[in-house]
Assembly symmetry: D2
Homo-oligomer: 391 residues x 4
Amino acid sequence: MAIEASKHKTTQRKLRLGMVGGGEGAFIGAVHRIALRMDDQFELVAGAFSSDPARAKASALTLGISADRAYGSFQDMATVEVARSDGIDAVIIVTPNHMHGPVAKAFLKAGIHVICDKPLTTTVQDAEELVELVKTSGKLFVLTHNYTGYPMVRQARAMVAAGELGVIRLVQVEYPQDWLTEAVEQTGQKQASWRTDPARSGAGGCIGDIGTHAYNLAGFVTGLKLEALLAQLTSFVPGRLLDDDCQILLRYQGGARGSLWASQVAVGHENGLKLRVYGSRGGLEWVQADQNYLWFTPFGEPKRLITRAGAGAGSSAARVTRVPSGHPEGYLEGFANIYTEAALALRAAIDNSPLDPAVVYPTVQDGLDGMKFIAAAVESSNNGNVWVKLK
Amino acid sequence: MAIEASKHKTTQRKLRLGMVGGGEGAFIGAVHRIALRMDDQFELVAGAFSSDPARAKASALTLGISADRAYGSFQDMATVEVARSDGIDAVIIVTPNHMHGPVAKAFLKAGIHVICDKPLTTTVQDAEELVELVKTSGKLFVLTHNYTGYPMVRQARAMVAAGELGVIRLVQVEYPQDWLTEAVEQTGQKQASWRTDPARSGAGGCIGDIGTHAYNLAGFVTGLKLEALLAQLTSFVPGRLLDDDCQILLRYQGGARGSLWASQVAVGHENGLKLRVYGSRGGLEWVQADQNYLWFTPFGEPKRLITRAGAGAGSSAARVTRVPSGHPEGYLEGFANIYTEAALALRAAIDNSPLDPAVVYPTVQDGLDGMKFIAAAVESSNNGNVWVKLK
Amino acid sequence: MAIEASKHKTTQRKLRLGMVGGGEGAFIGAVHRIALRMDDQFELVAGAFSSDPARAKASALTLGISADRAYGSFQDMATVEVARSDGIDAVIIVTPNHMHGPVAKAFLKAGIHVICDKPLTTTVQDAEELVELVKTSGKLFVLTHNYTGYPMVRQARAMVAAGELGVIRLVQVEYPQDWLTEAVEQTGQKQASWRTDPARSGAGGCIGDIGTHAYNLAGFVTGLKLEALLAQLTSFVPGRLLDDDCQILLRYQGGARGSLWASQVAVGHENGLKLRVYGSRGGLEWVQADQNYLWFTPFGEPKRLITRAGAGAGSSAARVTRVPSGHPEGYLEGFANIYTEAALALRAAIDNSPLDPAVVYPTVQDGLDGMKFIAAAVESSNNGNVWVKLK
Amino acid sequence: MAIEASKHKTTQRKLRLGMVGGGEGAFIGAVHRIALRMDDQFELVAGAFSSDPARAKASALTLGISADRAYGSFQDMATVEVARSDGIDAVIIVTPNHMHGPVAKAFLKAGIHVICDKPLTTTVQDAEELVELVKTSGKLFVLTHNYTGYPMVRQARAMVAAGELGVIRLVQVEYPQDWLTEAVEQTGQKQASWRTDPARSGAGGCIGDIGTHAYNLAGFVTGLKLEALLAQLTSFVPGRLLDDDCQILLRYQGGARGSLWASQVAVGHENGLKLRVYGSRGGLEWVQADQNYLWFTPFGEPKRLITRAGAGAGSSAARVTRVPSGHPEGYLEGFANIYTEAALALRAAIDNSPLDPAVVYPTVQDGLDGMKFIAAAVESSNNGNVWVKLK
């Protein structure tokens, strides 16, 4: 239990968090709250849970937030919290996408660290401004690309880095879902409504919602930088305003190639994120729904099943693992690992103490990369499926 | 997020817990602490984490327990806590097996509810005394047979109860592991030491450690009562004092039959708990390591894959589920479900309010059944593998 | 294509076969005919395809047998064929079980080699007489326990023999089906009728039909001899005269133990033969329906997937394999391997030439072992599930 | 056993075949010979097994061909056989790719039916000439795109045709292998040598060898016609003259889209052909290595496992199936189905009798389509990965 053992090593107190968005009924807010509690590093002490002040207060009450820290607006929260001696150490942003940027700016300017849901913003320009602001503010910015927290994703990344696959040649990544097979956004389904609305989601639909996860995962595991892409985005469902399927060819710096497929109309898939990486000496495969397993084939040898915390899993997986092999971990544990890494980074920042070099988490730069990826894919698709260089 | 939404419905405060055993380095203590935090229903405020007072204090400090509630003995804790106005609502017992009984008795006698790890005790007589004491005390007793908390186990139970399998004929349950393939108890491995020591584990080794889990799961899903068993317990590893493999034939009341296999020397298995149930109209299969899936075959139709929170999963699964289908849940979520059910039961008991009839959790009676199962298996094996009736 | 390359090495002609039973509409006769054609070692030139002479002739015509070798009785066939200069080299017996013995005796006495479907006979005494007759006749007797022909079964056997699993401790074998879930024998279904009729199938139902396959496979792979068994045979379907489910505990000579489960009422299983073997150093698992794969776990290392003709598969598998890895082989290829081994043995016997020591096939002795296994299981079950020694 | 039962219905004799290419040591020749024997519809009576006359004779002898029908050249074989009263009914062409066209022309011109391995030729022009010649000759031309013979591929095709998936939106097909991960063609490996040699394989490497299989399979199952493609062909291994990896975007007539990936450097894959099809009402998935299974998800319902000959499989699968469900069929059975369909078509053609409309097999037109596909992919890749219309 490496994670629990490390608790309180630096500051001997829990880190204090506030949340913007994520009131009652919001799926992702609840996920963040479970994740932050998992390893007992944090307490949630403040919130502006809704843009509707009454709803914000009600949510705060339900969540056990004291009345004086239940804010009606995120601006108030930034102003008041920074002035309190027991003010929040960091803010969690779980609003709809188009508000990520404005909220993050307000807290960074107030000198408060940020933990933000993906995608970073809705435009590349907004993302670039945010990157700049993070730099000048000197504050931490943790982007919750949660799949990077899975132990076997860490294991895969370590194996690639150690050269166990040789030179990487091919990256095949896919993220099929089927929940938008029919026009549910026209029936008032809330999750579908904002995800298919350009005003709230930006220029990308499927590409922004899940394509970015696939892209981020591939880069995280392989360490490769994308040089150019060629995309075909499609809206299969009549009347849909954003893409619900993305077929993308990939060219990485250094010569690796691959493809990315994300879809919200692939009947039979729930959250079918799958990554396959092939090198000159080996290949590996990982499937999110069965996250405790990693398949590895050294060229010319039988395929091997590496299990989380089992034989063949190394220290990169072990440090973000809680239970023994054969007892599965899930999505929430992976999400919590992002929070635990954030806790280590926040304590080091706040205490001005050294940070374990093994700590890794997605940053504002990853968020900007994701926005550029979306923009390039949309540009390529709109221009007749041509190669577009990532800038 | 049904679970989060239900928070504070009754008492508008977190439930207060103390823990006996489970200090630093103890695996199962840490699991219980994560589980109790998952849905934010509890706070851990007191502890007697070790029989060594110095170690108990150190653990308490690390776990953020205030000094006045870090106890050197469980007896002190029972006496002092019951007298506090903010005393604990329930105690968690995560000591070695032979201490479960004495600790439980102390807290029940003090009028404090109990959450206890399995197995209940080390002898049937102790277990029977405890059942009697629970009755007379009027207190709740929650036994953490955690596999009953998995959503697809709940789903399976509901399907059997609804008659989707017809009359149950066969129950095939197995729990293979391989961690005792070699004589690690002779090398000082702590987990192996007490689990292979009759003084600390009772008369059963493998049968008590994991055979009881398999037995409990089969009964939970099918609702069947075991009438008799015939067991062959074996110690394959030279010098081992308790069984490391159990082959058991099962006869249930009403005519169903089956077999149970548990092993700690089955190379290639981590925690291979698997249940298969066959009836006159259908069959189902569930594997703990892949807990989000349930296979169901209606006779004469194609096999179906029911996924947690996906198509085909009903309300029994939904009420103990946190994330959407395709995003896996794991062992800790299943364990947390036992705690969340306990929270609902504790609030109803403390507030004298009605309890949702859907709430289900293993009790002291399940613990007694498990002890009788172990005793019968040992008796059968010692007497030449003869049928022994469950009393 | 080692098999094809070896063709005609000894006699430069195809081996001539006759068939008893297996006329039109009989499933297993057609399987034998495809199997004997697969590697072009045999030609089918004579037959007594039915006890009804008219039907026998009609089947012969359809199968391209010349009129003078279409026999109305097996006795005629034995008498006439042995006298022909181009008479059959061997007879294939695919009659209902109770006729295996009489037909085999007739041909052995005539000096003709025998290829016979399992089970050998319907009683142990008949089987013992046949063993004796084979000895005195000096003829070959090949029993088509076809699962022993699968390449990965050969691979598993070779790995056990080479000590890759260490000392074998546990054998878990099962063969679940579901086709007798309902009382189809009462609806005139032909396959079900004779298989549930003691007069035609002997004292065992499920145990004789598929339990013997499981038993034979376990012995073939491990090389272990069964010392004793304890069986619980059940007829779940009302009115059924023979067992449709068998739960058996196993004790092998030398200390290995295990269990065997065979069932014809396990809804969701087609031909679910599965073998798992565990030793002091490793474990392996093989599933008939996915016969091209063998799972092997060296203790303390990741599980490995050995594929037929792929990395990790050795010469034992290679010599009975036709197509490259990744292109599946099936049931018919496994069955054909028995015939190809038989061809090698027959040529060596006929030509009085040396036989490749790698050749292996089930014999009349395996058939007798199977009959003893059935008898012991029935005896154990009838006497209250007691241990019965194999004689 | 529908297939065996149908034997001799038309001509009451076996069909006579000759073979060009496929002498000893040639993998695919042996596969064709097993396939033609499987259902006893054919006899191999003539051959020009090698362009080296001595080797041709030796192979013929080994294969049991009479000396007067062991030809030194395919031209001789065509001339002589057509003049014999017992001449061959059809020729099998299993030469290297560049000889398919010349040999086929010689036999078609002689008035002999043709069964030919894929790809059809090495250029589109050659293929078009062959299509024309087939038309004018009035002879049958069977292209052995063997994967179309698998029962579950037939099942999938029937389900799409019956509208069970609704309107098809997406086709994801892949065929990864790993056997060319290293430059084995430089070590004298024969299979690798000709497959990576433009002179013998044509302009496509991986695209021609296995990409065409994937393309053909997708079209066979969906019935969709490809409108345009955009391809990125890569040679990852230094010094390799042809592509060893293909990434292709697909646009079908009517609006369906998809992608095709074929690779010979994807470490861990043997013959990983996999097809996924998604429509407005359902999705399905089929994997060649596990050919007995078909996964089908009706939108909003649990995923179903349809097994060959099991529940849910219809008549399209049943008519090309030999053994019951749960007993696997393999590659050779699928290949044999092409031959059995060919036998039905040949008998109808020779006897001038009606042909069962259920009979389906790949034709010279499919071969031309494949050549156009290869040409378009090479053109797209050479011109900077632009859309190329299929002509």
